[in-house]
């Protein structure tokens, strides 16, 4: 057991280090940097631009800067933002929390919907419920995330039922405790709905595929021959048999969900990592880009860890390895 988890942990560590190296060195290939546009400013002399670049260490070699960056990660600063003039970590934490709230609740909700629906669809492959389900999911799949987000936003604009962006209303601080919760939840509905509508069809199809595959296997036929009821068969045997690929999907699903939430956050101006990354890319705020990518990688590694632990609990074949 310890060996299994150490291996998974090492794998996660490899991912984090690999991603940091990859983004860091890719970003160094960029022509120009945050201060490049300053050269166009007639009030700045070439010397003062050089001085600023020296101050931020942009004139050092890539390897030195990577080591310096590692050092600042160790101190919990994650580098320094040129645009905000503060350590990246300060900017990132609050936003990472908001992204986490959004993605986790979207994930939870979409799994809660997808598992029963997928089970219902896969129970009778080729039946009317299955065909209905396939039709519905493929038409939902064909709607791009961006259009979904824009469409829901349009709904909010036209009906006024939901706030059209942000996370809290202007007078948030004056609200009572219950009012605050209600305010955040109402802001929260549209982004979560977009993410859920985007992920549910994918998940339903995976659950369905898993169930169909398991139902065709001999042990199900044996169980049926023993007179186990259909409902019990589905809930206890089929679902459990289909669980292993689904749990690893849980880890991978975080990837798509994070990508989706990046877009949704920007469109609906949810104050998460997405808008921060977008602005940082536009402003060439190097360390913020690296920090945001690292942040998403950390989410991912965390999600994979949870998935591995679940897999360990559910699938006895792994324990004997």
């Amino acid at each position: 057991m310890l060996r299994y988890f150490t291996r998974r942990l090492l794998h996660g560590l490899f991912l984090v280090v690999g991603v940091s190296l990859l983004t860091f060195f890719l970003l160094q290939l960029a022509p120009g940097d945050f201060f490049a546009e300053m050269r166009l400013n007639p009030q700045m002399t070439a010397e003062s631009v050089a001085a600023v670049r020296h101050q931020y260490g942009l004139d050092r070699s890539v390897a030195t800067r990577y080591l310096l960056w590692i050092n600042s990660v160790r101190k919990g600063e994650l580098g320094f933002s040129f645009a905000y003039d503060s350590p990246v970590a300060c900017l990132l934490w609050a936003r990472a929390r908001n992204t986490l709230i959004l993605t986790l609740s979207a994930m939870l909700l979409s799994w809660l919907i997808a598992v029963p629906v997928g089970l219902g669809c896969g129970a009778r492959p080729g039946g009317w419920s299955d065909r209905l389900c396939l039709g519905a999911t493929s038409s939902l799949l064909a709607i791009p995330d961006l259009l979904l987000a824009l469409g829901l936003l349009f709904l909010a604009v036209r009906t006024g039922w939901f706030p059209t962006g942000g996370m809290v209303s202007p007078g948030f601080d004056d609200l009572s405790g219950w009012g605050k919760v209600k305010d955040v939840v109402s802001h929260f509905c549209l982004p979560v709905a977009t993410l859920v509508l985007g992920t549910v069809p994918v998940l339903v199809r995976h659950v369905r595929a898993g169930v169909v595959e398991v139902l065709a296997s001999p042990f199900i036929r044996a169980a049926r021959a023993h007179g186990i009821t259909r409902r019990r068969l589905l809930a206890r045997y089929a679902l459990r048999g289909a669980a292993a690929p689904l749990i690893s999907l849980l880890g991978l699903g975080i990837t798509t969900l994070l990508s989706g939430s990046l877009l949704v956050e920007v469109v609906m101006s949810w104050p998460g990592v997405g808008p921060l990354l977008w602005e940082a890319v536009l402003a060439r705020d190097l360390y913020v880009v690296v920090g945001a990518v690292m942040c998403s990688t950390l989410f991912l590694v965390g999600g994979n860890m949870v998935a591995d632990a679940l897999l360990f609990a559910v699938d006895p074949r792994i324990r004997t390895e």
Partner: protein, 356 residues
């Protein structure tokens, strides 16, 4: 329906879609850059068959907008001025000439080249906006077709690039094994694990921001191709791994066949199905990536239209709230995606996998 017929149906539909955007300059009534500042955000022009006196016309006609002094007026149809729809017109109108002249000498020089056949059009001074017009009075329908050209082409080229990388690296990894395999598969894991949009952003961040439209188009394709190679590489490796152990491969090797010959002749053809299925999955994904990046101002730049930067106008609140036809470029993606997914599903089923 049999799987074969479903594949042909999806392919046929996709072919028609692509042909219509490929021939954009024929199907579109105007050039995508032509502006009419008098008519910003004009709603879709209505085609009429029955005129004032209740007479029926076989040839549809439109009414010109009544000129009004309001800055953003909903087009009020001037019932005294009817313009019949003309088919197969040789486009070279006065306004367009004037526009071109304004835009400078270099465009004026190529003016003769810009005269070409169009499927339909109306006489000056009326304007036909089948899908309305945007903030600068440009025809959305023409921009949609030309933008579709850019977006669909970007998706296809990027998928081609990603599949090419994936095929080569996957084949090398599977065929040679050892440390090469280890190295490639570790990097596959790295690329697969990253949220692809974040990765796309990070890679985009290292490219210059201000680029000409053509440069940014090709950079976009390169970036997407670089980001997307991992999954095809892994799948191709799996196929190659099983194919290289076959008896006929061993036999060919015994006859002295070289590695390149073996790969090309005996191993890689096995990966054809996998590559095709991946193409069906990757192309819509890359089209979506182009749309997302251009929407955010990181992809194809104005004035060249793409489906993404057509949608970008919706970032303004008043556009989203009042002009519903600005959503149509997004809606145009739905049939494209639906047919690609249908194709990918049918291909997966043919390969004996339960489609997901």
């Amino acid at each position: 329906m049999t799987i074969r017929r479903r594949i042909y149906l999806a392919l046929g539909f996709l072919g028609a879609l692509h042909a219509s955007v490929l021939l954009a300059s024929f199907f579109a009534p105007y050039d995508p850059e032509v502006q009419d500042r008098e008519l910003p955000f004009a709603p879709p022009t209505r085609l009429h068959f029955v005129d004032e006196r209740g007479r029926f016309h076989l040839r549809p006609f439109i009414y010109a907008c009544a000129s009004s002094s309001m800055p953003v007026a909903a087009c009020v149809e001037d019932l005294t001025r009817a313009f019949p729809l003309r088919f197969f017109v040789r486009e070279s109108s006065a306004v367009e000439k004037a526009n071109l002249a304004n835009q400078g000498a270099e465009l004026g020089a190529s003016e003769s080249k810009r005269r070409h056949w169009r499927l339909f059009g109306v006489d000056q001074p009326a304007r036909i906006f089948l899908l309305g017009s945007d903030g600068l009075g440009r025809d959305q329908f023409s921009r949609l077709l030309h933008g579709g050209q850019v977006s669909l082409l970007a998706g296809m080229l990027a998928a081609g690039l990603a599949l090419g990388f994936g095929l080569v690296l996957g084949a090398v990894a599977g065929f040679y094994g050892g440390w090469v395999d280890e190295l490639i598969m570790r990097s596959v894991e790295l690329f697969l694990a990253l949220p692809w949009l974040y990765l796309l952003f990070a890679v985009r961040a290292f490219l210059p921001l201000h680029l000409s439209a053509v440069q940014s188009f090709f950079l976009l394709i390169a970036v997407m191709g670089v980001v997307g190679w991992a999954r095809p590489a892994r799948l191709v490796r799996g196929v190659v791994l099983s194919a290289r152990e076959r008896d006929y491969v061993a036999a060919a090797r015994g006859f002295g066949a070289s590695d390149v010959y073996l790969l090309r002749r005996h191993v890689l053809p096995q990966a054809f199905g996998v590559v095709m299925t991946q193409a069906g999955i990757l192309i819509p994904q890359f089209i979506l990536a182009e749309v997302a990046l251009s929407y955010l101002g990181l992809g194809v730049a104005e004035p060249v239209p793409s489906l993404g930067n057509l949608l970008a106008e919706l970032q303004q609140y008043h556009v989203m709230a009042s002009y519903w036809w600005m959503f149509l470029p997004g809606a145009a993606l739905i049939p494209v995606f639906a047919s690609y997914y249908a194709l990918a599903n049918a291909l997966q089923e043919r390969a004996g996998v339960v489609p997901t």
